[in-house]
């Protein structure tokens, strides 16, 4: 009885140790990424197989882009708040609302153009194959694709079928 209990216990211990060991070593890369100062850029380096020189250049581009992006975020937020106030007061589409809607559309177009410029600059810094893969990926992930609208239309079409 004692011998079989020891064998049973050793088997379970081996199972637990194997699980813990493989989990620990399997997630070591993730823990390494999270320890980096900018984990999202470290992820980019890993995902698109960048060398140190490419990564340094892309980090520079990223840092240069961020202040402009923050400024555009601030302007977008201000426009949204203003539009919200105007809509709350208006009963019809006033010229002021119409002008603000046009400004918002222009802001979105400018923002998307700046984003695209940045993505193209980043993709040019990468090896050609990875650059193409990066462009495909950002196009799918960002608002460049207009996903929300496409999905709405797709859902509506499916609904009508």
């Amino acid at each position: 009885m004692k011998k079989s209990a020891i064998i049973l216990l050793l088997g379970l211990l081996a199972c637990t140790a194997a699980f813990a060991g493989f989990y620990y070593f399997g997630t070591a890369g993730c823990r390494g990424l999270m320890r980096e100062p900018q984990p999202e850029l470290a992820w980019l380096k890993k995902e698109f197989h960048l060398n140190d020189a490419e990564f340094a250049r892309i980090s520079q581009l990223h840092q240069a882009y961020l202040p402009q992006c923050r400024e555009r975020c601030r302007l977008i937020q201000r426009q949204d708040e203003k539009l919200h106030q105007l809509i709350a007061q208006a009963k019809t589409v006033t010229p002021e609302i119409q002008m603000l809607l046009a400004e918002r559309a222009k802001m979105r177009a400018d923002c998307e153009a700046e984003m695209l410029k940045h993505f193209l600059a980043v993709s040019r810094t990468m090896p050609p194959e990875e650059g193409r893969r990066y462009l495909d990926w950002v196009e799918n992930q960002t608002s460049l694709r207009g996903q929300a609208m496409e999905q709405r239309h797709r859902t509506a079409e499916e609904h009508h079928m």
């Binding site: 194997a18 060991g21 493989f22 399997g26 993730c30 999202e40 992820w43 992930q141």
Partner: protein, 116 residues
């Protein structure tokens, strides 16, 4: 001494008396409940015997070296597979989260949608 035996032909009055005798048995108190309790106890017994049976089986099989090695190997393989699988799931989730973080850092509209 006079024999204590009676002749069979003289038993007739006794037999008639016995035929007339009616017994009215009374059940002990809570008889029915006790019967059900005994039935329940009988039903439970096979489940309780499962562990001793398993222990007997382990006692019989595990001390055999080949079976013990096989048992340890299977458990080790299960641990390795489960650990790798869990690590892969964790890594995929983190990859997706970091990708999203990268997009959010560059796309004001994605950041705005996600912050709502």
């Amino acid at each position: 001494m006079k024999p204590n035996k009676q002749e069979p032909e003289n038993d007739e009055p006794l037999r008639a008396l016995l035929r007339k005798w009616v017994v009215h048995p009374t059940l002990p108190p809570r008889f029915q409940e006790q019967v059900w309790q005994r039935i329940e106890r009988t039903n439970v017994r096979p489940k309780a015997a499962l562990w001793p049976a398993l222990a007997r089986l382990a006692d019989a099989l595990l001390p055999r070296p080949k079976l013990a090695v096989g048992y340890a190997t299977v458990l080790l393989a299960v641990g390795v597979a489960a650990g790798s699988w869990a690590a892969q799931i964790h890594s995929s989730r983190l990859d997706a989260a970091l990708g999203l973080r990268y997009v959010q850092s560059l796309d004001p509209y994605k950041a705005a949608v996600l912050n709502q």
